[in-house]
């Protein structure tokens, strides 16, 4: 039996080369991985903002369309709350901004909860409520259909390097026709 046996092993240079190549390769892989995770986090943050933004706008739109807005004086615009007259079930609804907790609160008959999710805060919220006189009072003093303009700046919570911002502005005209 002939066994051709190799007893050479690796030299130091070969070893160093191997380690260097391995190091370079792993650095490339790791940085790609880390970047991908960061990017993914930013993408997820955008997604959260859009989810909340869309939901909040639709919720406010639904209420403004279906309920009778209590008018405010022109000097009070822009305001941070919308209050509605009691509906046919004597239910009292209001939507207001809490600047301390940075939440948008929806309150119905004294029960209040925030419209934004815990990982999104409302940085800024402004409503323009017009007209300033009630078109549906017994003696109408305005011939303008009520409407609300919403301006909302959403931000990710907790604020960090990858926290994103989303500004949404829209106007909703009421579909409340009493006269």
């Amino acid at each position: 039996m002939i066994i051709i046996n190799n007893k050479k092993g690796f030299t130091l240079i070969e070893m160093l080369m191997a380690v260097a190549i391995f190091a370079v390769a792993s650095v490339i892989i790791m940085s790609t991985f880390v970047n991908a995770i960061n990017l993914e986090q930013q993408t997820a943050n955008y997604q959260k903002l859009q989810n909340d933004g869309r939901y909040i706008v639709e919720k406010i739109a639904k209420e403004v369309r279906g309920r009778e807005i209590i008018p405010i004086y022109p000097g009070q615009n822009p305001t941070s709350s919308i209050n509605f007259f009691p509906d046919e079930y004597d239910s009292i609804v209001s939507i207001y901004y809490d600047p301390n907790t940075k939440n948008l609160i929806y309150s119905q008959d004294g029960f209040a909860d925030s419209l934004n999710s815990p990982n999104v805060e409302i940085e800024e919220l402004k409503f323009f409520i017009l007209p300033s006189k009630d078109p549906f009072s017994n003696v109408p003093i305005s011939n303008v259909q009520p409407r609300a303009t919403i301006y909302m700046k959403l931000k990710n919570k907790p604020a960090g390097k990858y926290a994103k911002e989303l500004i949404i502005q829209t106007t909703i005209s009421s579909k409340f026709y009493k006269r």
Binding site: M1, I2, I3, I4, N5, N6, K8, I21, A25, I28, I29, T32, N35, A36, L39, E40, Q42, T43, Y46, Q47, L49, Q50, G53, R54, V57, Y73, P74, G75, N77, P78, E124, K126, F128, L130, P131, S132, K133, P135, P140, S142, N143, V144, Q145, R147, T149, Y151, K153, L166, I167, I168, Q169, T170, T171, I172, S173, S174, Y177, R179
Partner: protein
């Protein structure tokens, strides 16, 4: 007799380079996937803003129509001493929103006002700027928001004299329910002949913006009639 050959060749440099190349291509593909996901999300974000601005345009016109109804209910007369029409000031043309919420004067009654623009000659006037409060407005001078908004109003015309000369209202409705209507940039009779009557207005609100220098747009169209 048995020969056992032990291979002591190891890997050559070429093989190593190819291996690394394969890994890099794989990584690049994954990275591209993440990048396009991120870009897509940014597109979506811009689109959410655009959609809401576009909706604002439609709602403004709807608010004018509803306010016209309120004027009518009070038997108000327009400039020509006719009863206030449901489509007062909503004639075909290109518009931007002149007054919607910027009400510094306490006497502002809240009536939405549109401003006629010549399109496409004055396309620049449809640009939206950011005002002191952060709102999107058409008044120039402040920072350009990247978005522009153009409202187009057209008349919806219906052939009221289609079959045997009967022109009752039900028939008009029926014909238009069958999608048998046309859009006119001006008067219905001048566009399609005396048989055509105006039954409503079509409001088209287009919002334009750019993402990475690539043009994007969203168009919302709504049809408004004289019934609630």
């Amino acid at each position: 007799m048995k020969k056992v050959l032990i291979n002591n060749q190891g890997q050559g440099l070429i093989e190593l380079i190819i291996a690394i190349a394969v890994i890099v291509v794989g990584l690049f593909a994954v990275w591209t996937l993440f990048m396009s996901n991120f870009n897509g999300e940014q597109e979506a974000k811009a689109r959410v803003i655009g959609a809401n601005l576009s909706r604002e345009g439609i709602e403004a016109v709807k608010n004018i129509r509803d306010s016209n109804w309120l004027h009518r209910d009070e038997n108000q007369l327009d400039e020509l001493n006719n009863l206030w029409a449901w489509d007062h000031s909503l004639v075909p043309g290109y518009y931007t929103i002149d007054e919607l919420f910027s009400s510094p004067n306490p006497d502002y009654d809240g009536l939405v006002k549109l401003k006629t623009i010549a399109f496409p000659a004055e396309a620049d006037k449809s640009k939206l700027y950011i005002n002191d409060l952060g709102f999107f407005v058409h008044e120039s001078g402040s920072r350009f928001s990247g978005y522009s908004r153009l409202i187009t109003i057209k008349n919806i015309c219906c052939n009221s004299n289609k079959d045997d000369g009967e022109t009752d209202e039900n028939k008009i409705r029926q014909q238009c329910a069958d999608q048998d209507f046309k859009l006119a940039d001006g008067g219905c009779d001048s566009a399609f002949g005396a048989d055509y009557t105006k039954i409503g207005i079509s409001v088209i609100c287009q919002v334009d913006w750019k993402v990475n220098e690539k043009p994007r747009k969203i168009v919302i169209e709504d049809q408004l009639f004289n019934w609630r």
